[in-house]
Amino acid sequence: MFKRLLSNDLPRDRTLAVLLIALLIALAFAPFIFPGVKALGIAAKVLVFLVLVASFDLLLGYTGIVSFAHTMFFGIGAYGIAIACTRLGATWGAVAVGFFGALALSFVLALIVGLFSLRVRAIFFAMITLAVASAFQTLASQLSDFTGGDDGLNFKLPELLSAGLSFSEEPFLGVALNGRLLCYYVLFFTALASLLALLRIVNSPFGRVLQAIRENEFRAEAIGYRVVVYRTVSSVLSALFATLAGVMLAFWLRYSGPDTSLSFEIMIDVLLIVVIGGMGTIYGAAIGAALFVVAQGYLQDLLKLGSDATAGLPWLSALLSPDRWLLWLGVLFVLSVYYFPSGVVGRLREMARDPQSKH
């Protein structure tokens, strides 16, 4: 049953399994283990990024194509909910309209971009998605009547999900049982379901074909697979999951703006996470997202210590400044691509496999 749930794609390494279980427990009981607004916010962000990054892994790791438009679909999800709830009021109907409207738009856009650019070469796809995403971002900030421009949109969700609603007078284990808590668990189960669904996809016959194409496009084409079709389907699926992640983000933040969902910085973050976590593993997305978001929240404090300690050497201090943490991530990213293309997860699995391969 457990194996079937994971589509037979087990962690295959004890350390990795322990990490994943720890992550699962931490996220499942986050409201109780880590009380406090900041900690819960970080846990929720991990959930959102987990889906976003895992869906990107379907594209990059399993299909072997790079898209720079992933945050566009993320943004469509977030703005879909935001715009619908702003225009139609905080009703479930509005949420449904926003959700399905966003999915439909992502579907169409991903299909067009895919059919347009995937037939030539993967490098084309990367360039065109970069251009399209950047144009989309500009469009979103220009159409300010609709999207709130650079300020974004603050909106209300149905009461069931708001902190104002309490289910009981008594806190349970010291945690108030309110709509906010419910919202967290909606996110949690959505993320869990998405991750299992993605595992199912990549381990299905469809997923195997994707990997065959990634390994050798010509051979796959020669065997008779329509490479363009498979790649396009993969990019559409990936876009839909990214949209879902955007919806999750909007649920949690009740806000949607260019900096939280559409910006190129987030695209870079996603790229970094998936490579450092481990391309083509799905689990890497989970581990990577958790590491990254937590690090973003706390590692900067560490860098600040380093920066303060080296204040006497202005150059070193500037390099260690917490604002420059992307520099170090970038270096780590490049090193990962060179030396650990399968990232943290791949590394762990190799270490688990090595002792066996000796006999």
Binding site: G64, M127, I128, L130, A131, V132, A135, L139, L271, L327
Partner: protein
């Protein structure tokens, strides 16, 4: 059989776009102003894009980190021009030029030198692996941008035009900003030198041949690697020069400018046909004109119009206006 066989159709696109825009804009003088602005912007974009497209054509390497050299050039220029305040502050144009010229030269040298390191450390180990190339050069972009922030700070820095290049000249009713004329001249100069090198020198011959068939050039006894390093360095230096021009055009520079301009450059070389310098020129002029016309007519969709332009060109010629043989 014709001796010279030039495909004229793409060349007609630029005047066609300009003529089409005239009735939409209405006023002739506004049109002239916008057209000159568009051509100037196009020339700057071309300076930047030429190196990228050549590197791609020659070695099948698409450098997603090309933007770093743009930003680098622009930031170096702020430092050089800042140190030459006496010269930039002068009203006399020749004194301004004395300041701007070394700024450009140093920007090109620095960008070229960094390009050499970039090629050696990042690009060389991932030849022929497109996926890794995209990732690695993107990583290079992130690192480069952050290093620029370390050196010059993360904030926007003004890059004021030298006194003598400010303001506009009147051509009839149309006001033409002086700097745009400077940009046009510099752009034409670069284009001229590039064209001359490519068509009249042995190095240029080798580059053109290498774009078509790398293996055969090696079989004829030429070290294409050296050629490639040379082109990469020159391409980086040109991006640096373009960065100086772009910074002066915007009159300020930010570390993220490289990534922003990169998007335009990609559109340009896709329109032009990956690897084609002539195509890059046409793409750049089209994009420059389009940006200025739509910026005037419908500013909200300015960047989107370039995407539409790209889509239209690709529907017409799926490999860009000048497809490069065997790619």
């Amino acid at each position: 059989m014709k001796q010279m066989d030039i495909d004229w159709k793409p060349l007609m696109l630029v005047p066609l776009l300009a003529v089409l825009a005239l009735p939409l804009i209405g006023s002739g003088s506004t049109w002239l102003t916008l057209t000159v602005a568009g051509l100037a912007m196009g020339m700057i974009i071309f300076i930047i894009a030429s190196g990228l497209t050549l590197v791609f054509g020659l070695m099948d390497v698409l450098n997603f980190g090309h933007g770093v050299f743009i930003a680098l050039g622009a930031f170096v220029a702020t430092s050089v021009l800042g140190a030459m305040g006496d010269w930039t502050g002068s009203q006399e144009l020749w004194r301004n030029l004395v300041a701007v010229f070394p700024a450009m030269l140093i920007a090109m040298l620095v960008a070229g030198a960094v390009g050499l390191v970039f090629e050696r450390v990042l690009v060389r180990p991932v030849y022929g692996q497109h996926l890794k190339q995209i990732l690695i050069t993107m990583g290079g972009m992130i690192i480069g941008e952050e290093l620029i922030k370390v050196i010059w700070g993360p904030q926007q820095i003004p890059l004021p035009l030298p006194e003598g290049m400010r303001g506009a000249v009147l051509m009839g009713d149309a006001a033409i900003e002086k700097f745009r004329l400077v940009a046009l001249v510099v752009g034409l100069l670069v284009f001229g030198v590039l064209t001359w090198t490519l068509s009249r020198t042995k190095i240029g011959l080798l580059i053109r041949a290498g774009v078509q068939d790398r293996e055969m050039v090696e079989s004829l006894g030429y070290q294409i690697r050296r050629l490639f390093i040379g082109v990469f360095v020159v391409g980086s230096a040109l991006a640096g020069l373009g960065g100086v021009m772009w910074g002066m055009y915007q009159q300020n520079v930010i570390p993220q400018m490289g990534a922003q301009v990169n998007v335009l450059i990609f559109i340009v070389i896709i329109i032009g046909g990956l690897g084609s310098t002539g195509g890059a020129l046409i793409g750049a002029l089209l994009v420059g004109l389009m940006a200025n016309y739509t910026g005037f007519l419908a500013p909200k969709v300015a960047l989107f119009s370039n995407i539409a332009l790209m889509a239209a060109v690709l529907l017409w010629r799926p490999q860009g206006v000048y497809p490069v043989a065997s790619r």
